[in-house]
Symmetry: D2
Subunit: 350 residues, 4 copies
């Protein structure tokens, strides 16, 4: 720290590069000599979004690096930090949803003052947003409106998104981490106390029995899905992002989150669902804003803006395989009890 | 005021009837001797919603009474008060959207502790919410899931909603108010300065010409809709809630909202769109909450909760005929100028 | 518009200068090779604040230009636009208050990773924030901590703030605009229907009588203040920013805001109070954030951060002379009625 | 669960006792035949606050019961549940702060329509709010405005608050829980690897040395306070709510929160600070609302409303002894390393 004392003094505006930052707004209307007071708002709100997108990517990169370790030691702060950072991403996303309220102070007439000057630019061209989606786990195949993506971005930007899609995304890394979890599947815990009539794992067999008992007549089809996911490994649906093993362990975490070792993993899963939800909220509120501002006219980028957003809002859930597991939960008092040895390993050492 | 001084002193808890209010929570789990700590939250948040629904209905009733007057004197505070009260309704709705965040602190496992005890009750049975929808203008015909409505409510409640549907709703009253507006249609303003080649109103003919010029090739179909709405009265779509005359006047307000007399009417229209948007936001966030809490299982009321909410979110826009007018707006500098006499009548007297 | 069609196509990232914007983050820790993951957040949140400060200044400049006109025609959209823009400023300020919640996700330990590297920079050095304060109307004399201002800013920045303090601030322009309002003071309205026993203006005499009657014994000192403000012009407190005439007209607006011509002026006054409130909320939440992050240690800028903010929060109300007028309001049913001629002039022409 | 199937069906409005709840609003103005449209808002918003206060007390009671156990097994979900519930309390408090925005839609003139009818009732008489304060740990001695409390409440209500003050409050229970924490103080961990020259505990001696090195000249007085708190037990300030041992353990948690066993305890402390902050935010926003609505007139309860709230906002921090510990934190890389045996006991068993 001593050497630090010899550093030159830091000045707020230089540290933040405000000369650069606050001179980077160039409304098109000014170039044309047209008065359009609200174009500044339009520029600044988009720039603010992009700054926050950079921050989200910064956090996601750190999180990915944590998960890229071959093993996450249980006794490190890694998962705690991941949860903390994901919650921060949620806090940022909440702000970004609210921030649309500022855009909504721009009336349609005020937008028309400069709207035609922006063609064919469009928010669809935000590369950082696409990289965020890809980093979470949205694939090219699952993207709604792939054709826009190829037609509206320039070569370099298409390349950047494609590169992001090639990296191991958060859901892929999560899958690997879930697969490494030893508890529920490890045969050693179960052999002594449990015996399964069929070849099935004794835990899942017991769980299935309890689950089947509680279903309403109109819910019987849930049991079939349950079996596909948890009982008959060979029927496990191919198209799923999470493997059979990862799904089971995710579900196990949701069920036994009361044990110390599973508390943070549960928070982790829960926070991922919150990110999906907030991304969806952002899209929905964005739709409203677009509909109020441009109605049903074609967006500056040539798409029917609201239509694209709506389809994306409905189909871009990255972690929905986790949220859907909720359907199979049982009340705590009906949960199969765990073997003593397993309970011990789910606990603090002291 | 003198007599007021002889009133007995008011005491906070009596004024608010807290003895009644704070003893009106009776969790079902307590009756069964089951421990379910979060049922209290479940009861209280729903009660809080219902209190706010009562307040929204209180405001809507005052607003309807203002519009029920045979004429709204321009020089009264009536429209100012209507706008003020609608904005308050928006502020309340914003809170109600945020309030779902409290519900989301209840995890699926914690909900399962008491969920089965509530069957077949469901939030669908909130009569006040249905009356709010009806008061704004949602008709029985336009309701998604009419069948639930008849099957899930008791006789008395069906009767209450039907009664509300019979009253003149806000959109009906708005339509009448818009029809009474003299400015744009009144021939006297236009005869001298304008002459229409066809039989069409000179204002709309001029506007059509300007609008047609600005359309992109891919937007040409907009012109056909424009003509149906503003030019060929006999082609005006039958199913619309707003009459041809009311639509024209609403659009005129949106275009010339810079004139004093139209400023508050514009705020009024804009605030109605905000209510639609907030109701939709409430439904969407509600969907997320339901999906996270019960997954894809059948809701306590027997519906697939999220599915109902989603369809309602997409179809229950009461004022969408107004928001869609945005598609036909022109930039201010392309607007047809108004006759002097009309400008004068759109102004303050001094 | 035709020429617009020949413009080169606009591309999102170029329009927003994202290459510049997203390369303007240079954490000090990176320069020193120290790992401090949260410094990026620290940089980005401050940059986001500065972007929004630029937008607020953009709006305030437009507002000041409107008020700088020698006369504001009643029939222009000027006041409507001012109110709209001030409400937008409020919406932005609300976001800036909430945005502190993102900063609060940085824990004290995480801040310590890079805190010493920032000395002696401090948020106190935000020139744009000081210019916002000056533009609203905070004077050098009323600034808490003038000494910091001279010691912590560089020459150029001191010059910029001083320049802003020299301009006619919003409160000065508001004062002039209020003084030009004809209604309440104009003798012509009052002579016929009212006669004042003393030399006082008949309206204020009548109002005083009604006000005196409603005061509680413990509130009698309010009457003395009332007289200073509204009755005895020669006793009008010298230190006030609003002149006697402006105060009266502001109060008249608050009382008779139900008349059309006063509705927007009332909204204007009310929104200014909201800005004061939001600036104060921002300071208070800022205090909490600082206290949680650095405790009672000296801030990077050498001040005891929280202490400065607290004093500023309590003393930097620009429009408090307006909010204090609330003390003198009477219920509507006790208000003196207005002369017919005045009522007519407070109305729309038709 | 089988018996549950025989339960009578639950109906939404009966479950929530809506007949009772929605008939418990009796505006005074209605009784007097005075039209005061906004009194309903006034009643409903206060009732909504009281419902949420009941929920907060419900959560605090469960939390207190957890802490009232003679020992909190490390391997139970107890602390996890406490943190979850405290975060819910924060979510509720955030809503209550925002909810004031609805009250602010009531203008001063509209409040005056019914204000005199409420005398001498006042929000100060909310017993539940006082019980929340007492449950967190505010004592009678530390209450600002004790005299109001005795003069404005009726006998029964004074009794209820006094009863709440007699219970072991959250801060008292927290103190006991912190004192029971074995890690930092337990001599066994330290003897082998560390030796203290003085009689002082080797950990605190090492920490003091590192802390002293980093202080700026103007911060030297911090060292004296440090010694009082952590080194010289006999100088430990008498008036503190946390014992010397509890303070040390709280600080130890803040420093080494990266170890698994301390992660949740850290979240716990942090959430308590957030509750203090939100209570303070609530008071500050409340002050603004009161000032805007009644100005400097005496409140309905006879106090100068804003003055009371301000003093309470500044002095009613229950957990400030914890937040002040932040002043003594060191950057992670300067923290004394922990003995291996201690690290093991701060970890999961596997």
């Amino acid at each position: 720290m001593e050497t630090l004392n010899n550093r030159p003094p830091v000045y707020y505006s230089e540290y933040l590069q405000l000369d650069t930052l606050l001179n980077a707004q160039a409304p098109e209307s000014a170039k044309e000599g047209i008065r359009a007071d609200d174009e500044m708002l339009f520029v600044i709100i988009h720039q603010s979004y992009e700054l926050w997108f950079k921050q989200i990517l910064h956090e996601l990169t750190i999180i990915r690096n944590i998960f890229l370790q071959p093993e996450l030691p249980n006794n490190s702060p890694d998962i705690y930090n991941v949860v903390h950072k994901l919650k921060r991403v949620c806090t940022i996303l909440e702000l970004l949803v609210d921030q649309l309220g500022i855009m909504e102070t721009m009336t349609p007439l005020d937008f028309l003052d400069f709207r035609d000057l922006l063609r064919p630019a469009s928010g669809f061209q935000s590369i950082q947003f696409k990289i965020i989606e890809a980093t979470l786990g949205l694939t090219y195949e699952n993207r709604y409106g792939k054709e826009y993506y190829l037609s509206q971005l320039n070569e370099k930007d298409i390349e950047r998104v494609k590169q992001a899609e090639k990296e191991e995304s958060l859901i892929v890394l999560l899958n690997k981490w879930l697969e490494r979890m030893p508890f529920c599947q490890e045969v050693a815990y179960w052999n002594k106390d449990h015996s399964a009539s069929s070849g099935a794992h004794p835990f899942w067999e017991a769980y299935r029995a309890a689950y089947a008992k509680g279903l309403l007549p109109m819910e019987q089809h849930n049991l079939k899905t349950f079996d596909q996911l948890f009982i008959h490994e060979n029927e496990y649906p191919e198209e799923r992002r999470l493997s059979s093993l990862a799904s089971r362990n995710a579900f196990f975490i949701m069920l036994y989150r009361d044990y110390p070792l599973l508390q943070l993993p549960y928070e982790l899963l829960n926070t991922l669902l919150e990110i999906d939800e907030l991304m969806s909220m952002w899209r929905h509120r964005h739709i409203h804003m677009v509909e109020r501002t441009i109605g049903k006219r074609v967006g500056t980028g040539g798409s029917t803006g609201a239509g694209y957003l709506k389809a994306a809002a409905d189909s871009h859930y990255v972690f929905k395989e986790i949220s859907e597991l909720t359907s199979f939960l049982l009340p705590r008092h009906e949960l199969p009890p765990l073997p003593e040895a397993l309970i011990k390993d789910l606990s603090y050492s002291k």
